[in-house]
């Protein structure tokens, strides 16, 4: 059940998107997000949709896999939809007790939900096509210029690598402890909110203990191998930009420009 969570997971494949430089992918994702938030009408979503559709197609990640990643966020999407549909003033179409459903509300709700879905799919494409190591390498390189003003680029990147590395481990651990407690008759699925929250104690206490134990062991193992931060560290694979990276970035910028022109001109 917990293994169904695909957010932040890497999907190994040999595709054009996978081969792109992680820096380009991170920056492009930012540009994509900006473009997404610049869009103010449905028509301009076309640019975003085409761009995203093409990226997904090139990435060779199955579309169903991406949809699965949306599942855990279903609640947030529904909530956004609900709030927008009821809270927007305008031409009343239908009354539901004290709440009004307006024409503008429906359009706004659909608009916001679409934006959220596009945001999630777009950003998850980054993690799906970039291995955690590449991702943090990219972040470290991008943060490097800020080192002078005291940003611990390497340490931040290392923290992220470790955090990402441990997501599957902790999920597995959760699954294991959950099963062990279920074997002792624990029930995580029924009862009211209070009861359910209480039923999580037998899960969370062992999980925290094991997370701390793992952190301790990892720190020890790193120190035993003389790890001491980013100073003078070299790397096995240096990142380098190719023509395909420039093309990809130019295409992304083009989408942003197109959206901007439509919005302001």
């Amino acid at each position: 059940m917990l293994r169904d969570i695909t957010i932040g997971q890497y999907y190994p494949a040999a595709s054009a998107i996978h081969r792109l430089d992680p820096r380009v992918k991170i920056l492009s994702t930012f540009v994509y997000m900006i473009a997404l938030f610049v869009v103010k009408n449905f028509v301009d979503y076309t640019y975003i949709l085409v761009f995203l559709g093409a990226s997904i197609f090139l990435s060779k990640v199955p579309f169903s896999y991406m949809i699965k990643g949306l599942k855990p966020l279903f609640l947030i999407i529904t909530l956004t939809f609900g709030i927008n549909i009821f809270m927007t003033k305008g031409e009343v179409l239908y009354q539901l007790g004290p709440l009004d459903i307006t024409k503008e509300g429906i359009s706004q709700a659909v608009f916001m939900a679409t934006r959220l879905i596009l945001l999630i799919i777009g950003t998850s494409l980054l993690t799906l096509t970039t291995s955690p190591i590449n991702l943090t390498d990219g972040i470290e390189k991008l943060l490097n210029p800020f080192k002078k003003v005291g940003v611990p680029a390497h340490e931040l990147a290392m923290m992220m690598t470790i955090a990402l590395r441990f997501i599957p481990t902790l999920l597995e651990e959760t699954d294991k402890i959950m099963k062990a407690q279920m074997a002792r008759g624990a029930d995580f699925e029924s009862g009211n909110i209070l009861k359910r929250a209480k039923s999580l104690v037998p899960l969370l206490v062992p999980l925290f203990i094991s997370a701390f134990r793992r952190a301790d062991e990892l720190a020890m193992a790193m120190e035993a191998r003389c790890y001491r931060g980013g100073e003078n560290r070299t790397r096995m694979r240096e990142l380098s930009l190719h023509t395909r990276d420039f093309i990809a970035f130019i295409v992304t910028i083009f989408v942003l420009v197109a959206v901007l022109v439509n919005r302001f001109a």
């Binding site: 402890i177 062990a180 074997a183 008759g185 104690v201």
Partner: protein
């Protein structure tokens, strides 16, 4: 003979209909008699864990049936509580699931989940803690986290024993323990088996422990039952066991070697006690 566990055509497929689809169990058929002491062995990934998780309803079969003491646990709408009362499962490193402030409360977690009266819970907790070889008065108010590794493991086992299962499954209960704690835990499991005549399934990588304790061995390989029979029958198939990444007890190798060197000793010896007798016999003869 009354059957305790009947497994019919059990198949389990992980991630069905997805690129990561894997068949973990392939049409398993097994019968386990009431009160039998079973040793379950197999290479990592052979399907042992998947199999034992089916036995108390943690996993649902893709197809097939499991009947425990005449009760089909794979039927729709079966209460999971009832299954878990019948089948106790002790996972690997069970001390990692301890969470309560005191040993008493932790052991009482299972029985309380079964909805038992407080008095009955008290009796069971006391009994279970003593069964695993700890002193009830000494440990009951202590935090499980201040105990030693071996003691913590026993508390965790007591937590399952206190539910009084008819079938007790232990997944490598001695992994990572020192030799003394290992012997103690194994002898307590044996005592438990003899005292209550419950069915025990012991998963282990130690052929020595298996040879010493169990009535019957089930060998798993790639989701199938490769072999089953008495230790003396199973351990005869050295070549087969080795080909699937297992082996026979060290002492058996020694006896085989002696035999090869022309000493008149039996080859089908699996425990150190028997080997001792055999070697003494040989020496007296000389």
């Amino acid at each position: 003979m009354f059957m305790s566990i009947i497994i019919e055509n059990l198949t389990h497929i992980y991630n069905f209909g997805n690129p990561f689809e894997t068949k973990a169990l392939n049409d398993i058929n097994l019968n386990i008699e009431k009160g039998e002491f079973i040793g379950l062995i197999g290479h990592t990934g052979s399907g042992k864990s998947t199999l034992i998780q089916h036995l108390n309803g943690l996993l649902k079969p893709s197809s097939g049936k499991i009947i425990i003491n005449g009760f089909d646990i794979t039927k729709k709408g079966v209460s999971l509580r009832e299954i878990r009362q019948k089948v106790g499962l002790v996972f690997q490193y069970p001390e990692h699931q301890l969470f309560e402030e005191t040993v008493y409360k932790d052991v009482a977690f299972g029985p309380l989940n079964l909805g038992l009266e407080e008095e009955e819970v008290h009796i069971r907790v006391k009994e279970a803690i003593e069964l695993v070889g700890l002193k009830f008065e000494e440990v009951k108010e202590r935090s499980p986290f201040e105990l030693s590794g071996g003691q913590r493991r026993r508390v965790a086992i007591a937590g399952v024993v206190a539910m009084k299962p008819e079938v007790l499954i232990l997944d490598e209960p001695t992994a990572g323990l020192d030799p003394r704690a290992r012997d103690e835990i194994l002898s307590q499991i044996k005592a438990l088996h003899q005292k209550y005549n419950i069915t025990i399934i012991l998963v282990s990588h130690s052929m020595e422990d298996i040879a010493k304790l169990v009535d019957r061995i089930i060998v798993m390989h790639k989701g199938n039952v490769a072999l089953t029979g008495k230790p003396s029958e199973v351990f005869r198939n050295v070549a087969l066991l080795e080909s699937i990444g297992l082996g026979v007890p060290q002492i058996t190798y020694l006896m085989k070697m002696l035999h090869k060197l022309g000493k008149p000793v039996r080859e089908d010896i699996f425990t150190i006690e028997d080997a001792k007798k055999e070697i003494l016999k040989l020496m007296r003869r000389n």
